[in-house]
Every structure is written in C-alpha cells, then in structure tokens.
Symmetry: C2
Subunit: 190 residues, 2 copies
C-alpha cells in the first residue's frame, strides 16, 4: 500500500487550512486524518496529541504574522509604520480567521518562549521609535497598541461591528488616526 507522506509540518499546515475553512474548533486529529485519507492512529507518529496539533497551528500563525509584520515595517516609520503593522493583523485575521483564532491560544510558558511572540512586541516597539516616548511609557504604549490591534480585530471577527453604521473600515482608519495623535501627545505622568 502506497504511503501518504505525512510529516508533522504538513499536518500542521493542513490543520491550519482546516481551521481557516471550518473554524479552529473544528480542528481535530480525526478530521485531519480524513483529509489525508488515512487512519487516525497514523497521525500519532507525527503528533504527540491533539493539543500538540493546536499548539503547532498557533506557532505557525504567530510566525506567519511576524513575517508579514517584518515585511510591512521595512522602510516605514511613524504613522506610516503604525498603519502598516495594524493592517497586517487585521488583514491576516480576515484572510485566515482559523489561524488567527489559533494564535490566541494560551500557550505553555515553554511554547510561548519558543514562539514568535517576542518578535511581535519588538515590532511594536520599533514603531514607537518614530514617536518621542521613553520608558516606562514606551512599554505602556506597546501594551496599548497590542490591546487595540488584538481587541479590534477580535471584536470585528466575532461580528461586533457588522450591521451597524458607520462602516468598520471607517472606524479602523479613525482609530489609527487617533492612536497616532495620542502617541505624538502622550500625557505626562499624572
């Protein structure tokens, strides 16, 4: 009988595609086995567990996002960079909702350390070089931007802004304008 050519990498890629097509909660070892037309148990030579698969998809998504971010930031600064990175998150979530959902998984400390998580905060910090913030405000601003990007995209994805005026795109643009203004005029310590 011919072999299917399974590898951990191919399984995680296919799992990510499955997540985008059917939702991250539909990602199961069984569904993946069906997709490769292979028996379920066969996947356990390549995956430690179902959790392992999900973590793999999360790490893949974080890498892809970081790669896109790095490309988007190249040659940009200030508001330009802010908008570019913000759109990376929003567009990625729109194109890959399952992968994006996976990226929200709570990782174990080890997995988190091995993830592209630090690249993400580095990128946000890079944007802030175009503004005049010093520590600890810079860290506060990194956390604010992370919160807005993640919060907005996740509310948009769960349908919070649909079917109500104004358009989500309009709010997004306006919010990025507002964040830029805020970063240029970060309030002094109270």
């Amino acid at each position: 009988m011919a072999r299917a050519g399974l590898t951990t990498k191919r399984l995680i890629q296919a799992g990510a595609d499955l997540a985008d097509e059917s939702g991250f909660d539909q990602v199961t070892v069984s569904a993946l086995a069906r997709r490769f037309d292979v028996k379920v148990a066969s996947l356990y030579s390549h995956l430690k567990s179902s959790q392992d698969l999900k973590t793999g998809i999360a790490l893949l998504a974080l890498e892809e996002l970081a790669d896109r971010g790095a490309t988007a930031l190249a040659g940009r600064a200030g508001k330009d960079a802010l908008i570019a990175l913000a759109n990376v998150y929003r567009d990625y979530a729109g194109e890959h909702p399952g992968r994006y959902a996976a990226a929200q998984l709570k990782l174990t400390p080890e997995a988190a350390a091995a993830s592209a998580g630090s690249r993400h905060s580095q990128m946000t910090r890079a944007i802030l070089r175009g503004y005049d913030l010093t520590e600890p405000d810079q860290t506060h601003a990194v956390r604010l931007l992370g919160s807005v990007f993640h919060g907005y995209v996740s509310l948009e994805l769960s349908g919070g802004f649909s079917h109500s005026a104004p358009d989500s795109q309009e709010s997004w643009t306006s919010i990025l304008d507002a964040l830029d203004a805020l970063l240029r005029n970060w309030p002094a310590q109270q």
Copy 2:
C-alpha cells in the same frame, strides 16, 4: 430515589462556576452531571445541547458584567466613569476567567440580540457624554474603548504581561490616563 432538583438556571450557574474553576473548555455536560451526581442524560431535559449550555453561560456573564457596569457608572462621569467601567471588565475577568472566556463566544444573531450586548455599548456611549465627541467620532470612540478593554484584559489573562516590568497595573493606569487625554483631544478629520 430523591430528585436532584435540576433546573436550567441552576445548571447554567453551576456551569459558570465550573468554567471559573477549571477553564471554559472544561465545561461539558458530563462534568456538570458529575457535579450534580446525576446521570448525563438527565441534563438533557433542561438543556437542548452542550452548545446551549455554553451559550447560557455566555449570556449570564454578559448580564453580570452589564449589571456591574451599571452600578459602577451610577453617579460618575468623565474620566471617573471611564476608569470605573474599565475596571469592571478587568476585575470581572480576573475574578471570573471562565465566565469572561464564555462571554467571548461568537453568538448566533438571535442569541446576540437577546443578550446584554447592547447594554454594554450603551454604557460605553454614556461615558462619552462626558467628552465632547459628535457622530461619527463617538461611534469610533465606542469601538476603540471596547477594543482596548477587551484586548487588554484578554492579553493580560493569557499571560502576555506577566513576568515583565513594569507591572500590569501600572500600564493599565497609564493607558486609561492616555485614553482620557485622547478623548479630550480627539483629532479632527484628516
């Protein structure tokens, strides 16, 4: 044999407690049956499905959050109100992580319409009465605040800000200061 006295309401309450104790993904009809020392099938007289249970927990959490918000906003305006409502979300998520996770469930349009969701946007809008914003900026600001509250709390809950200086509380305070400043100086249309 004595009866256990199950009702839909009690089941959903217990499910919410279970979520807070063990995580929302550990909420199953089976686990709930064990908690009441009852056979699994018995719960299906009170719950349509496992999904129904989860939706019920989400709706409960949204109600509780809205109730806390209404209490916190009473008699407050401006920055005071902003801080009070923001802390409602953050504190609730800290005290009830499982319930908070449930509240992020993507609801069906019918469930969403029957939920306390609109109370939440009304509360945020109420805060903005203390600032000088007119439509459509007010809606943009509502969406920004929703994004920051949800985004920050969810990043904090998933461990994003732990084990790194400065303290999360410090960033939270600073971010709320910054949002207040931003709302007082919302940039004019570009």
